[in-house]
Symmetry: C2
Subunit: 344 residues, 2 copies
Amino acid sequence: MSRAAKIEDVASRAGVSVATVSRALRGLPHVSAATREKVLRAAEELDYRPNPHAARLAAGRSGTVGVAVPVLNSWFYANVLAGVEAVLAEEALDMHVIVVDGPDATERFIAGLPALSKRVDGLVLCDLFMPDQLWEDLAGGPVPVATVGVDTGLFDSVTIDNVAAAEAAVGHLLDLGHTRIGLIGAGPDGATDNESAALRRRGTIAALGRRGLDLPADLDVAGSFSVAGGREAMLELIGRGAPTAVFCISDEMAIGAMWAAEEAGLRVPEDLAVVGFDDQPVAEAVGLTTVRQPVSIMAARAAHLVLARLDGDDGPVQRHVMPTLLQKRKSTDFRHLTPVHAHS
Amino acid sequence: MSRAAKIEDVASRAGVSVATVSRALRGLPHVSAATREKVLRAAEELDYRPNPHAARLAAGRSGTVGVAVPVLNSWFYANVLAGVEAVLAEEALDMHVIVVDGPDATERFIAGLPALSKRVDGLVLCDLFMPDQLWEDLAGGPVPVATVGVDTGLFDSVTIDNVAAAEAAVGHLLDLGHTRIGLIGAGPDGATDNESAALRRRGTIAALGRRGLDLPADLDVAGSFSVAGGREAMLELIGRGAPTAVFCISDEMAIGAMWAAEEAGLRVPEDLAVVGFDDQPVAEAVGLTTVRQPVSIMAARAAHLVLARLDGDDGPVQRHVMPTLLQKRKSTDFRHLTPVHAHS
DNA sequence: CCGGCGAATGTAAGCGCTTGCCACTGGCGG
DNA sequence: CCGCCAGTGGCAAGCGCTTACATTCGCCGG
């Protein structure tokens, strides 16, 4: 065909007005069954495809929800995207992905926020770190927001209880008899400011504290959320006099830590117990004890929350806390006897 | 402010016409420096943000390139997205991600193709499997396409030499003295039709053939591209009488295979040599010998290729073949003595 | 048999921007 | 001193759709 059909062509072919075509095609009321049928047929025959930009301009809605993540190529965020994408695809909505990696990108993201509200109808924000003022600005804005991984109290959120999860992980290590437990985390000292990291650190300290222990500075290291980051942190720990167990706030880091341990001639779990966080498929394969969190389900729920807001739900802010589960595997399957116990 | 500023507001504030504002803001010629400055200031003062939908409708361009991938939550495709996103972000273009998982989604993708050409200016297609006819239709269409991982000859493409890479991998195994080498692949029998999988299988057979060996049916299994898929395939292989070495067409599968081996009491590399494909970070951590391919660089190049087409490049189709490298690690670090050699 | 009412449809005014085309301006050579 | 040209800038017609409002029509109760 020469030129793409427009709504007007469909209208004249069906013998109705463009308004009727628009209504019929979108399933709106006030169209008789017969007319609708006629329109559908005409559209079919012309292979009509509505122009989304025209529709969006006219309707003032974009049919798109934005998803902001710090990086794309990590298991966690890839699954966030997958979770959101799955629900959006069902609703025939577009996903606009925004990568906010590091301070510069955050700057740009913030600067682009006003413009963003024109291109997305809703927003799923994942592990974003911004000044409080901006969160409030966002809350005052027109686009519904759901956050995953962070809970500001201002928006619908879906998180896990990071503190409790970390307590469980470290508690497990303590139950095994460890007293010299390292933490491989992330934070201002590490790659980025990350709320989850801070909470897991808090949980670690809480678990330790409950047994009268603390987290000595030399066992408290931070790295980037990656295999390499975990390895480096572990190497650092080893250089300082290795702990007998280490809690890593991501599986990638834990795998890096196991690697470093091996390089240093430490056996896991005999010489070093390791626990990770996430429970990605690889964790099970390598026998890594880790905290399972339902990543893509969380993301999907966040997506549903913004969709509900788009459908007019104006109930109170919903703050979902999803369950986690400590998966015990080989990397901690060894009872550690501390010198104290050995002599008692 | 009450209502978002529109171009007209900027125009009147700057004392020029909307046409001039449009030109000034987009850096088009035929605007004097003084005028441009005036416009910029006015826009700044009003915090003006152009409405992308209006711009796209009027201009007939979408400022968006689409990226189709089979799944989001795998290392490979996550890196593809990351690679594309990085170059698009630089050009201030949007990325529209399309997940084409399985036949149904492919169907939908194909059905949506005509509509798609209105919402994207270009397309990066990754490991997509479609009837030839549709590729040709696409080639006849208005939107430039670049493929990654598959080379149809119709579009700019960036691939690796899968056959040669597999030959190198299996050749390495042969050099180590293995003669009973299994292949864990994917294909019509596996999860999806995948061109790379077919080519790697071909390379495997070629390498074997060069030594006068063949790939017996009982050592030729297929699984899904995942840890679980690799594990199941390996278990199957073990059930049939384990080979002494196995080539897996992805790292996830290789890690699954190592897991299965361990479950079965086989030591890697002594009892079973394993080689994977991709060289994702975890591979190095677990000492997996594997074929490295520059995933995100490939994706970035594909993105550049479609951008070049958008800039009017109408040169001949470019078919880039990127280098791969066999990374030898612990999982194959053992010279296997076949009975034949042992007795000679 | 008539007024009125609601459902079905049409009319047309935008939505906010881009761009082809025309009009103006001032500096320059003739 | 005049006409011409290149460089600027304005005008206005779209881009293809949505939707408020007006209109039409069939049907019912009075």
